[in-house]
């Protein structure tokens, strides 16, 4: 395959954007399923969560997928910012008056801004949990597993962290509201019969997934 297959053309950049974006979306479901265990704040629930965290950081298949995930996030962010810079260059003089609301959703015109905010959140988020789990000095729970639950509970007892988390999920929601269905179009998957279904699934996904994510810190803060 020629250079254009990787990043050479505008379309190739979008294929990768769509593939990594969809992969990240699928990952969100898996991540959410894990997080929902946090809602069980009983001592047994805490031990179960820590055992799950251990499994997720040591089981080889999960580890392999996680490397693909790190790569996808970095590539998606890099590719997205590259696209945004090129788009900016394509319109050197801005309109004095632009009625953007007349023809497009706000999210669709602000994907790079939304993405960059997600990236900022990811850095803070991974420092707090992922870095601590891998390299931090975590205490051990009754079963001898790293007590990630305690780290999470501590973070979610701080109001500013809960607020940041909830706000970031709103940002994610807007990114997904446009992004989910957009990725199908980027890959050429448009059909009069199926596209309306894809759009509905995208709206459902973009609303429900971020709300469930945001529910967890709120729940843990209220019940702390």
């Amino acid at each position: 395959m020629a250079r254009s297959a990787i990043l050479g053309s505008s379309l190739a950049k979008k294929y990768w954007m769509a593939l990594t974006g969809l992969f990240l979306s699928v990952f969100l479901i898996a991540h959410l399923a894990g997080n929902l265990q946090l809602l069980d704040m009983s001592p047994e629930g805490q031990l179960k969560f820590n055992a799950y965290a251990k499994f997720m950081t040591t089981f080889p298949v999960v580890k392999a997928v996680s490397y693909l995930l790190y790569f996808s996030i970095l590539f998606h962010a890099f590719d997205g910012i590259l696209l945004a810079f090129q788009n900016r260059k394509a319109r050197p003089v801005r309109y004095a008056k632009e009625n953007a609301g007349a023809n497009r959703s706000w999210a669709s015109g602000n994907m790079a801004l939304l993405g960059t905010l997600i990236l900022v959140f990811l850095v803070i988020h991974m420092k707090r949990f992922w870095y601590e789990m891998h390299w931090g000095g975590l205490g051990l729970d009754a079963d001898g597993n790293k007590d990630l639950y305690a780290v999470v509970a501590a973070a979610f007892s701080e109001l500013w962290y809960v607020a940041l988390y909830v706000a970031s999920m709103a940002v994610l929601a807007f990114h997904l509201l446009h992004g989910f269905q957009s990725s199908f179009q980027s890959l050429g998957l448009n059909h009069p019969r199926y596209t309306p279904i894809i759009k509905s699934v995208g709206v459902f996904f973009g609303v429900v997934v971020p709300i469930l994510f945001a529910l967890i810190p709120v729940w843990m803060f209220v019940n702390r």
Partner: protein, 252 residues
């Protein structure tokens, strides 16, 4: 004569190298039955009588078929209203006393020639890169009707072929992308059996030219489809995405 009075804020730029600026013009004697271009004619007449430089803008057929007129009016390509070009926009869409912004298409690939007139020959070069079917003209032409084409495909190809190359899609797109235009020009041939033999080469060459001209990337905002005077569908962009993907992974 009409009785509307308007304030126009119009982009003036004496040439490609001038920086350009918005200038304010009062215009009177506007009838609501005039088209937007006729209103500009009235303004230009008033300017010329005062010995001033008239405003340059593109136009030709003045009936919505040539794609020559342009103008970003009050923040929208071809102004408010759907499925129309600027020559089909009537002054009854506005009210007496309105202030109207008039700007040229803004795109790196469409440099301003003067005032509101831009150079859209980038579209011609995209078209020339592959938007054609090679026909043997040496006397052994095949009868077009000898090749059966399903009505549904013929209709879709025709829908794509109604693109008049006006550039509203580029002007509207927040990224300055030319995907709707290029997709229409690829689709009008890709959907027909006569277009298939050169389909791969066509998709690759036209996208390559599109990128070379400095257009932006498609974010699927859908703004182009809304503002396109001919209602060219996003379906065609998806088709171009498929055509190009297939061509990229199978080319030798």
């Amino acid at each position: 004569m009409g009785n509307m009075k308007l304030t126009l804020k119009i982009w003036r730029q004496s040439g490609p190298n001038d920086k350009g600026r918005m200038e304010t013009y009062p215009v009177h004697d506007v009838s609501e039955d005039m088209s937007f271009l006729e209103m500009l004619d009235v303004l230009n007449d008033q300017l010329v009588r005062k010995g001033k430089d008239p405003i340059a803008f593109d136009h030709d057929c003045r009936e919505g078929i040539c794609g020559m007129c342009s103008l970003f009016i009050n923040g929208e390509a071809h102004g408010p209203g759907r499925g129309i070009t600027t020559c089909q926009l009537h002054m009854r869409k506005f009210k007496d006393g309105d202030t109207i912004y008039v700007e040229p298409w803004r795109s790196t690939a469409f440099p301003v020639i003067k005032d509101l007139a831009t150079n859209r020959s980038a579209f011609d070069r995209i078209q020339a890169a592959g938007g054609f079917v090679s026909v043997n003209t040496s006397g052994n032409l095949v009868d077009g009707n000898a090749v059966p084409i399903p009505k549904h495909d013929a209709d879709k190809a025709f829908d794509a072929a109604t693109c008049i190359g006006c550039g509203a899609c580029v002007a509207t797109c927040p990224n300055g992308s030319a995907m709707l235009f290029t997709a229409a020009k690829v689709s009008q041939l890709a959907l027909l059996p006569q277009g298939r033999p050169e389909a791969k080469r066509r998709a690759l060459a036209m996208v390559e030219q599109m990128d070379k001209e400095g257009f932006g990337n498609c974010s699927n905002t859908g703004a182009c489809e809304v503002e396109c005077p001919k209602g060219i569908s996003l379906e065609h962009i998806a088709r171009l995405n498929r055509e190009y993907l297939a061509a990229t992974v199978t080319k030798e």
